[in-house]
Amino acid sequence: MSLSRASLMGGGILLTLFLSHLIWGSVSIPWLEGLMGEVNISQDHMTILFDVRLPRALIALSTGMGLSCCGLMLQTWLGNPLAGPSVLGVTSGAGMGVALVVLAGVGSVWWGTTLAAFVGSTLTLAMVFGVSHRFRGMASLLIFGLMLNYVLGALITVLQSEADPDSLQQFVFWGMGTFGQATFNVSIILFFVILVCMLIVWKMRKDLDIWTLGPLTAKSMGVNELTLRRQVVLLTGMMTGLLTAICGPVAFLGLATPHVVKLLFGGRSHRELIPLTAITGGILALLADWGVKGVFFMDSGWPLNAVLSLIGGPMVVWVLIKNSKMSAA
């Protein structure tokens, strides 16, 4: 499938899903009758649209696009198909930042947790990249990320045991992950920040392509390793940090989306991968949020991370099987 056709189709699905989240929800709003002039759309309905549904859909969209692009960048940079922000401890790093702010009671204004999450994720990723050259092979670095997850998780548990009940409750709720906790203003700001980050990723597409040929070849072709690494660390730290602060630690999106794209579209160069990953990530996040809202199962939905893990877990197993077949061939 050509890039333009795939983007057009994906964009169409994305837009439809986005609108579906605005139109339907737990409160039914009589849009059609309103448009026909039979009933008036009340002020309350407009409040639901602009203060609940639009922010939630925007946050889901931003998270899907942003985390998926982070996953793509990390997989390319490390040459490792199982890399992703939640695998490498980046999400936990952000969580650590949030835990310090929320549980230590430093204050819980949204920009405070956001800044802490950004610092936490960037530092963690810098650490992962700092040690990555010491590991040979794909497994060791992933195990390092896993251990980092455990250690950060343990530290967070220690903080939790010391925290007062109110902030503990707030933190546990945050940990389940949700797209539904942002105000209109926050969602708009976040959406534009993610868009700007993705434009920067788009500008890096040629360097990322060259990087797939391996560090030595890439450097001999004119890629500046240090600059590219800094860009990947800062952009991933920024996007993962911001999104994690607002949505909680969101599992699997970053890891799984690039594989869905490669499977569906066979995209290989970053000129194709970046837009398709963003679109597909947005679609997956909006789909998952339908699972959270509970349309598939009629009664009330499931926590976001439960839905994503149920989709993402089998996905990773599938990637592992596919890769072992490839190396056996």
């Binding site: 070849t217 072709m221 004119g222 500046n224 390793e225």
Partner: protein
């Protein structure tokens, strides 16, 4: 095109992974002319490390490498990639890019790219992804890539290890043509005896634990390995 190459020189060069124990130190030398220069030596004496330092991919512990009178350490990555290119002994099989996409990274003229790839042997895998190719096929893509990168100097680390015989012949023939056209190649290889019969060499240097010495091209190549000690 100029018939002379800008010389690639190095002085007081020490390199290795540990500043306390450099692999080799205090090397001086020059590759003054266009053509094919071989570096020979036993496994593990530091040929690959030296080539990476010469290509500017690794910082030397001491000393400088220059093209003309410009130290390569002072160039930006992009400037350096216009003057000197590098082919690794292992072709990059991790990339999912297609052959066409890899070559498009260095040259956007698809007809020219196809022609360049064909000069290293016939191909029917133009749209195939690099990680589905054999090592030899992927290495031919890398040769084409450096030819299109069109630098005055190209450094190759045991480039022919995975090639079948026809591909090897095509490779050396292309290098011969390019060197007549003013390009310089510095190549680490173990195929020197066979090579010296088919290819015009500009120089051969031997590297061992303590030496960097030029070998007399008039001597018998079958005996060169004796000098490795």
């Amino acid at each position: 095109m100029s018939s002379k190459c800008t010389p690639l020189t190095f002085s007081k060069l020490s390199f290795g992974y540990d500043s306390q124990r450099p692999i080799l130190q205090g090397l001086n030398g020059a590759f003054g002319e266009k053509g094919i220069h071989l570096i020979i030596g036993k496994n593990g004496v530091g040929k690959s490390t030296m080539l990476r330092v010469l290509a500017g991919l690794m910082e030397p512990l001491e000393g400088v490498v220059k093209i003309g009178d410009q130290p390569i350490q002072c160039m930006s990555q992009v400037e350096r990639a216009q003057q000197i290119s590098f082919v690794h002994s292992l072709p990059p099989k991790t990339s999912e890019l297609s052959v066409a996409e890899v070559l498009a990274l260095v040259s956007e003229d698809e007809e020219k790219n196809r022609g360049a790839l064909r000069s290293f042997g016939e191909v029917d895998w133009w749209n195939q992804s690099l990680h589905t190719l054999s090592d030899g096929q992927a290495q031919r893509v890398m040769f084409t890539r450096v030819m299109l990168q069109n630098t005055e100097w190209t450094i190759l680390d045991e480039p022919t290890a995975f090639l079948d015989v026809p591909s090897k012949m095509a490779f050396w023939k292309e290098l011969g043509i390019a060197s007549v056209n003013g390009k310089g190649f510095i190549i680490a290889t173990h195929d020197y005896a066979e090579l010296s019969e088919h290819v015009n060499l500009a120089s051969v240097h031997l590297i061992d634990e303590s030496h960097w010495m030029e070998i007399d091209l008039a001597s018998n190549p079958r005996l060169w390995h004796r000098q490795m000690g």
